[in-house]
């Protein structure tokens, strides 16, 4: 399915632009408001992630939840759980499914459920979405094992010990960002590939946090005098341009444009973090190059900032999933029992055409918090079970609701 910019997105991106502090490129968001500026372009992560963090702490979310270790410890760390990449709709689904249990816990601790305005929820989502894409410092011990398992040491020395064919990995120790590593590997891949083929070493595959773990290990060996090298804020607008200029778009589809020869990056499941995505690029590199050779496309080279921009663009693009299906959503709406209350004259808010209400993740999440506890009580009275949504179901539902309001 290759839909154009869906109705849902058209409908709520426009007000989002007008109403909220809209920082266009999600990495600009990630890197604070001070440098943020509103730019034109189709790829938006609405809201201000840092303001969202403020909301996260102010509303008391951080009393129980942490994000990547910052905050409470009695509830799941929202920076890590659930695993994998979550679009805004999937974040709503996760929130929805756990809501009754969460409210129960809060009641036990005499904490009233917080209420949110839509702009607060927009910021909160921007925050959670951004933070979830961050890589964490890896596990050095695991990294040490990986280094030999992946046979890196066959060619590379680490602090003087190991192979001589590749550069000593210790010289990379000051790089703090896994994307920098991926970039360095990518650009040197051609001779590396040749050498590996010659030596019969298979192309290493990096899963999950492998890259971060490797880095953590190398860092324990770093010479003390070296400083830390960070990546500057990535620019997903620049990433969007690069996606075209470097020729990615010739094979990969995204946002309904381009592609055909390679996986559609607008629909394919993503890993949670930017560094993990880099790992995937690496894993698929030989296949990719083979295909490029066939298409007579040149192998692109990236600076590490370009690599960061490119990946951040892909993530910005995936905040809104395009996989929703209105027909499936309609079935879900009835099967899960939503329709029995949310109808004209029903007990719940009328979600019928042109009544508004649904349609995009943010209003649904806001409504969930502001009205959810009351709704749960009413449902209990009527012995209606709290519906749960599997992967993709919320996206369908949202598509259905927005389709109804925008026929």
């Amino acid at each position: 399915m290759q839909p154009s910019l869906s109705a849902a997105q058209r409908r709520w991106k426009t007000p989002a632009l007008a109403a909220f502090l809209c920082v266009p490129l999600w990495f600009a968001v990630l890197c604070g408001t001070a440098t943020a500026q509103v730019r034109g372009g189709a790829y938006f992560l609405p809201g201000d992630a840092k303001a969202g963090m403020q909301t996260f702490f102010d509303k008391g979310c951080a009393r129980c939840h942490a994000v990547l270790g910052e905050g409470g410890r009695t509830a799941p760390d929202l920076g890590r759980a659930p695993g994998g990449h979550l679009s805004a709709a999937e974040m709503v689904a996760a929130m929805w499914n756990h809501a009754p249990a969460m409210w129960e816990k809060m009641r036990a601790q005499h904490l009233p459920p917080p209420k949110f305005t839509e702009s607060e929820m927009t910021n909160l989502f921007a925050f959670l979405y951004s933070v979830r894409a961050l890589d964490e410092p890896g596990d050095a011990e695991r990294g040490r094992k990986l280094l030999s398992e992946k046979r890196c040491v066959d060619c590379h020395a680490v602090g003087g010990q190991g192979g001589r064919a590749g550069p000593d990995l210790k010289s990379w120790a000051s790089y703090r960002n896994p994307v920098s590593w991926i970039q360095a590997m990518w650009n040197h891949a051609q001779p590396m590939e040749a050498l590996m083929a010659q030596r019969g070493v298979s192309w290493p595959q990096f899963q999950e946090n492998d890259m971060a773990d490797l880095m953590a290990y190398i860092r324990t060996l770093a010479p003390a005098s070296k400083g830390h090298v960070y990546l500057r804020q990535a620019d997903s607008e620049a990433g969007r341009r690069l996606f075209r200029e470097k020729g990615c778009v010739a094979c990969h589809g995204i946002g309904g444009a381009g592609g055909g020869h390679a996986p559609d990056l607008g629909t394919r499941a993503l890993p949670r973090t930017l560094g993990q995505f880099g790992g995937w690029m690496w894993n698929h590199a030989p296949a990719m190059w083979a295909s490029m050779k066939a298409q007579h496309v040149a192998r692109p080279q990236f600076s590490n900032q370009e690599m960061a921009d490119l990946i951040s663009y892909l993530f910005a693009e995936r905040y809104f999933e395009r996989t929703g299906n209105a027909a499936r959503g309609r079935r879900g709406f009835e099967e899960k029992g939503c329709g029995s209350c949310h109808r004209p004259g029903g007990v719940g808010l009328d979600l019928s055409p042109r009544r508004g209400g649904g349609g995009s993740p943010i209003p649904v999440a806001t409504a969930l918090w502001n009205h959810g506890p009351v709704m749960l009580e009413k449902m209990k009275e009527r012995a209606v079970p709290w519906p749960r949504f599997a992967t993709g179901e919320i996206a369908d539902l949202l598509e259905y609701l927005s389709a109804r309001t925008n026929p």
């Binding site: 604070g32 840092k50 961050l134 410092p137 050095a140 994307v179 860092r219 060996l221 500057r232």
Partner: protein, 796 residues
């Protein structure tokens, strides 16, 4: 525990504050007319435009962030800078009393020249031009005569960039002698060098530690960077997040730190090392140590054989044979069950931290004792990890290479010690013996060694013999009294201020702030005077310091900071969390795009820092010959051989309990000087705000007090508040006795910071305990020690 207290008790307890107000017997009418007569007594407080400016506290090495309120040209209030990562808006009482130093009646009003003799000085006010020319001409003369190396600079509170500037000046001028005031922490730093091979300052991740064993470290009374310590303490006990860190204080005296700790373990003075090794005994026998860490990351735990096949004793067998639980209990006076329980808690809670980093120094052999405590950190695997002992990150400034190699050693080298170091305390000996070479001039900057070092009297004698002495000082203190020229130094609010990473703080910090108000009494910033002297000297010295003033030097330094492409300008706690999240995953999000913007933002917000993650960089944390933490210090072994001494017994390279001082006949009580927060570092006695609050637990104000156990006092016939003599073999002093149940029966305590003889009459009260101490130096590193003097106390 609840606060059970009735009104009678309350009045008794509160008597320190207000009993004097409750007098009766005056008629209402009488008071009324009395009052009317006073109605004209009005104090007019001028107004003016209000301003808040950031500044940096100058009253201790921590350099907390200040926010100063000015009304017109007056500074009227000091508050904490909420953006400053060290203090986060909080301050200690010292910083708040800074305004009294600024407005102090006894400040120097002009440069002074001594026209009399050293012993009986006659002060004449001179112009700044004459003062600077006198110093500069002297320096030029010495340099011309090839005596440049004979110039010594002694810095009081060490700063980062200012100290770098002075070092750069000295190296261009041709002197290796940039000297700083010693600290008791040198002993622990020595232990870290011997066991970790690291000579950079250590830091502690106290915020994330879960179990803290403090071996006599006065955490809440002026240690390290006091405000950050108090902040961490508050976080340990935050009602919302639950009390997750246990803090055990081990010391002979029931100090305020001990009182505020979760548990206080009292022990015989000077036996901390034995107790630490006794705890190691428990950890080893019960298998509660981090076995993987000990196996992979340490050296000398098990018995071992060297390359020549010679067998050596390991830490385990040392502890198991010599520090058995019952023996240690007897040595230290701590019940065996307490040692057992605390050691088990230490073993079960990770990360756990053992702190032996005394600020007030202890016995000769202190580095061995520090090694004993530090070995507990190795057993707990708490080195180079979150919640453990870290190496403070370096600030990204380039240290200037000496423009030419200076062919002279530092004048305060300690060649007679095994471990060749530098010790300011050795300077008097060097001056008087004219070895390794004659000292021609001593320049002091806000340093008062005559008052604040145990061998102050030797300093006085040595300075009397020094050909030329100049002092940059705010007051005419004991050391400035010995100078030929005194140059009035401004307080922190009147000058460009900067400070590097605070002591023991685990992050790199650089504070910078412009002057808040114009300098009083024509005082001039020492750094500016140094630059002026450099211009006067011309040639390579002027070329090495091409800066119009200190501000220009700071600006240049900020360019280096910008070039490092890391860190962030001071910001809110929220920004801090945000930056930390980004930083951990390798992203840097500066709020500035060039050095100029960085400079402006630093001036406005107070500075720059790097909230970076320090743990997990083993190569930074350990740089010994074995690349492991060394229970058995090969470094020490190497130095011992290099010093031409017989290596002898293996125990010389392993942690050990130093020998305890013996009481001499007729001197039955041990004198332990103590540090109190208001006079932390032995400074602040000239400020009334601090004098008023110096000893709240015994209602002591404006005077030193002798803490003595009530039982001991009773035996000696001494009543509370009575004047008594404290006499050691070196001298005696008269002080007021305070009966305090927190003093050990065989020990008495005197607070540091009292007994000035110059500077301000307010400081010239009470007795300086350092004047009673017998001179003792650590045989390993030559550190001056203050524990171990016995005294007798009798009524006067």
């Amino acid at each position: 525990m609840s606060f059970q207290i009735n009104r009678r008790d309350y009045l008794r307890l509160a008597a320190g504050g207000a009993l004097g107000t409750a007098t009766s017997g005056v008629t209402l009418k009488g008071i009324s007319s009395f009052n009317a007569a006073l109605a004209s007594e009005e104090v007019r407080v001028p107004g003016g435009p209000e301003n808040w400016s950031p500044s940096v506290c100058w009253l201790c090495p921590a350099g907390c962030g200040l926010k100063v309120r000015t009304i017109g040209t007056r500074a009227v209030k000091i508050q904490g800078n909420p953006l400053h990562p060290v203090s986060r808006g909080g301050l200690c009482p010292k910083a708040l009393a800074g305004l009294q130093e600024l407005n102090h009646p006894d400040r120097l009003r002009a440069p002074l020249k001594n026209t009399g003799t050293r012993k009986s000085p006659q002060w004449r006010q001179i112009s700044w031009e004459e003062a600077v020319t006198t110093v500069a001409a002297k320096l030029r003369g010495l340099r011309g005569a090839g005596q440049a190396h004979g110039v010594v600079w002694i810095d009081g509170p060490e700063r980062n960039l200012r100290s770098r500037l002075v070092r750069r000046f000295l190296s261009a001028y041709g002197s290796p002698n940039y000297l700083t005031m010693p600290s008791g922490r040198d002993a622990f730093q020595t232990a870290v060098y011997l066991q970790q091979g690291v000579d950079q300052p250590v830091a502690y991740d106290l915020e994330n530690t879960r179990y803290l064993l403090s071996f006599g470290v006065n955490l809440l009374e002026g240690w390290g960077s006091p405000v950050s310590l108090m902040r961490v303490f508050g976080r340990w006990r935050d009602a919302a997040s639950g009390r997750h860190t246990k803090f055990v204080q081990i010391e002979p005296r029931f100090s305020i730190t001990a009182a505020r700790a979760d548990e206080w373990v009292s022990l015989r003075p000077g036996t901390e090392a034995a107790l630490a090794l006794g705890m190691a005994y428990v950890l080893i026998t019960e298998g509660l140590y981090d076995a993987a860490f000990v196996r992979d990351r340490t050296f000398g735990f098990e018995d071992w054989k060297d390359a020549a096949g010679k067998a050596h004793q390991g830490f385990r067998s040392l502890v198991l044979s010599e520090y058995r639980l019952n023996d240690v209990s007897e040595m230290t006076g701590v019940p065996a069950e307490t040692i057992l329980r605390v050691a088990r808690e230490f073993g079960h809670n990770r990360p756990a931290l053992a702190l032996g980093d005394h600020q007030t120094s202890t016995l000769p052999g202190a580095p061995y004792a520090a090694m004993a405590v530090h070995s507990l950190n190795a057993l707990a695997g708490s080195i180079g990890v979150a919640g453990g002992v870290l190496v403070q990150p370096e600030l990204p400034f380039h240290e200037e290479e000496a423009s030419r190699k200076i062919p002279w050693p530092r004048v305060d080298e300690t060649p007679e010690q095994i471990f060749p170091g530098h010790q300011l305390a050795r300077l008097p000996q060097a001056i008087r013996s004219r070895k390794p070479y004659p000292v021609e001039a001593v320049l002091l900057h806000q340093a008062n060694p005559v008052f604040s070092l145990p061998n102050g009297e030797a300093f006085r004698q040595a300075l009397l013999e020094t050909p030329f002495v100049a002092s940059f000082s705010t007051f005419l203190d004991e050391t400035a009294m010995l100078a030929d020229v005194v140059l009035p130094a401004p307080t922190g609010l009147e000058q460009w201020q900067e400070a590097g990473s605070p002591p023991a703080f685990p992050f790199a910090v650089q504070s910078i702030s412009p002057p808040v108000i114009a300098a009083r009494h024509g005082a001039r910033q020492a750094a500016d005077v140094v630059l002026e002297i450099a211009r006067f000297l011309g040639g390579p010295v002027a070329a090495a310091l091409p800066f119009d003033n200190f501000e220009a030097y700071l600006r240049k330094s900020v360019e280096e900071l910008f070039a490092a492409q890391t860190g962030a300008v001071f910001s809110t706690g929220l920004d801090e969390t945000w930056n930390r999240l980004l930083e951990r995953s390798g992203w840097w999000s500066p709020t500035y795009s060039n050095a100029e913007e960085l400079w402006e933002q630093m001036k406005e917000r107070g500075g720059w820092w790097e909230a970076g993650n320090l743990s997990g960089e083993w190569e930074r944390a350990v740089r010994t010959p074995s690349r492991r933490f060394e229970f058995y210090s090969q470094t020490l072994e190497r130095w011992t051989r290099a010093a031409g001494r017989e290596a002898g017994d293996d125990r010389r390279f392993l942690p050990q309990q130093p020998a305890l001082p013996k009481a001499a006949a007729g001197y039955p009580l041990l004198l332990l000087p103590m540090e109190v927060l208001p006079l932390a570092g032995g400074a602040g006695g000239h400020l009334p705000y601090l004098q008023q609050i110096a000893g709240p637990h015994v209602f002591a104000t404006w005077d030193s007090w002798l803490e003595i156990n009530p039982v001991t006092a009773h035996k000696l016939g001494i009543a509370d508040g009575e004047k008594v003599w404290v006499e050691s073999r070196r001298g005696r002093a008269q002080v007021r006795a305070r009966l305090y149940a927190g003093a050990r029966p065989e020990v008495v305590h005197l607070p540091l910071g009292y007994g000035h003889t110059a500077g301000s009459p307010w400081g010239c009260r009470g007795a300086n305990p350092l004047a009673l101490l017998e001179e003792q130096y650590d045989p390993l590193a030559g550190l001056p020690q203050t524990t171990g003097t016995h005294v007798k106390v009798y009524r006067s």
